[in-house]
Amino acid sequence: MRRREQARRPAPGAPTVSLAAVQIGAVASRSIRRTLRQPAMAIPPLVFPVALMLVNSAGLEPSTLLPGFPTDSFLAFALAVPFIQGALFATMGAGTELARDIQTGFLNRLSLTSLRGSALLLGHLAGVVVLGVGQAIFYIAIGLLVGVEFAAGAGGIVVLLVFAILVSFGFGALGAFLALRTGSGESVQAMFPLLFVFLFISSMNTPRDLIAVEWFRVLATLNPISYLIECVRSLIITGWDIQALSLGFGIAAVIAVVSLVLAAWALTRRMTRT
């Protein structure tokens, strides 16, 4: 036992970054294990988006007959949606778990240890990212199983996974901000309908240029979620569309940076309060 503790303790003179890495790893590992131990937390983000995609694709398949529709398979068109919907689910889940840590006093106890705030936040986000990548692999596998061909090929799948990392990180930070700001799992969950509205008022079911109702097209164009979906969609049905990729990665990066700054600020305030 003592030997294990000594192994975990950094050697004198060792660079500080290794201690930070150990702390981040410990928090991330706890975050992942906690999610996987609760099927009610782990299964819905995998199953629900896929079920909705299959039902919507079956019902909306005739849309592909519309002049100008970019593909003849609605399933290929809709496969982009679970990536973003799953990330939204993960945001809520991760935020709720962090809020529970606050409600149960776990965060208070952590603040008495040598754990750094940055390690707590990054560890938590590392856990969210690992789960996000797991989800992305699951959706890609489902897509391949139902016969969707990725227009951008194997390289596109790799880019898709990188995008999943960025999106999970950004939404995870957003969930962490909500949790740290409100300190209540119920409040984090209450944000779910709002995120769902963002998803539905987007180009999730129709390409923006085919949306006939003007106010809806304007809202979908202003909605950043549209560009995240279109980025994933371009890799599946178009190939290498630099504009869609730049917009998607750019917006995901902005969401990640803004959310991380907000989460770090909220964590500092939360730690000061405790």
């Binding site: 019902g59 005739p62 309908p193 949306i211 006939a212 106010w215 809806f216």
Partner: protein, 255 residues
Amino acid sequence: MRIWPVASGVAWRTLRNIIKTPSLLLPTTLFPLFFFTAFAGGLSQVQNVPGFDYPAGYTSFQFVFVLLQSAAFGGVFTGFGIARDFESGFGKRLLLASPKRSGIVLGYALAAVGRWVITATVLTVVALLFGMNVFGDPAEVVALYTIAILLNAAALLWAAGMAFRFRTIQAAPLMQLPVFLLLFFAPVYVPLDLLTGWIETVATYNPITYMMEAGRGLIAGAPTEVALAFSLGFLMIAAFGVWAFRGLRRAEAAG
């Protein structure tokens, strides 16, 4: 006659709780509006799909789906209330105090209708503001809303049966998910004859399909399969009524 005081008491209490609690009233009112906006706004181009021939337009087409969905979920959410009542111990006290226990089920059913009337009123006003066409005559419109009430009652009885058996709000997904699936396995976005593949097969055997098609026919002033829709509505009420009352007996036996 002893049934009415129990039914009216339960209905009044349930409705008052719903109206006084924004977290109960708002989601059931806002979610159908949100679905209506997203579907009627975002998917309106679907009416240009070859073979889509619905004279009243896509807004009316989607209104009927959302109206039926709100009716079904009005029943399910009232079922959540039953589960909560049993979880808090109120359900047991209600069983002890009621001279005629079937009045409890009737009371909850009346509350479910009352709750849905609020949602349906808001939804109808918003849809009319959106420019929804109503080509049906007043009798046909009344028939459409009656079909929705039948679905509301059937969903309430289904959810009540679950609530009486499990007596905990943790059973909520069991009440909600089958109803959600049944609704989405119907022709939500296009008419039945434009569906292909597995969804066509599932939709053909789904009773909600015929209630939806009848509703769409009624609002368009071209009634179709109305008798079948009413028969299926009454059949579901009868079947889920047996399910609910057997559940009530289990709750009584559990003490």
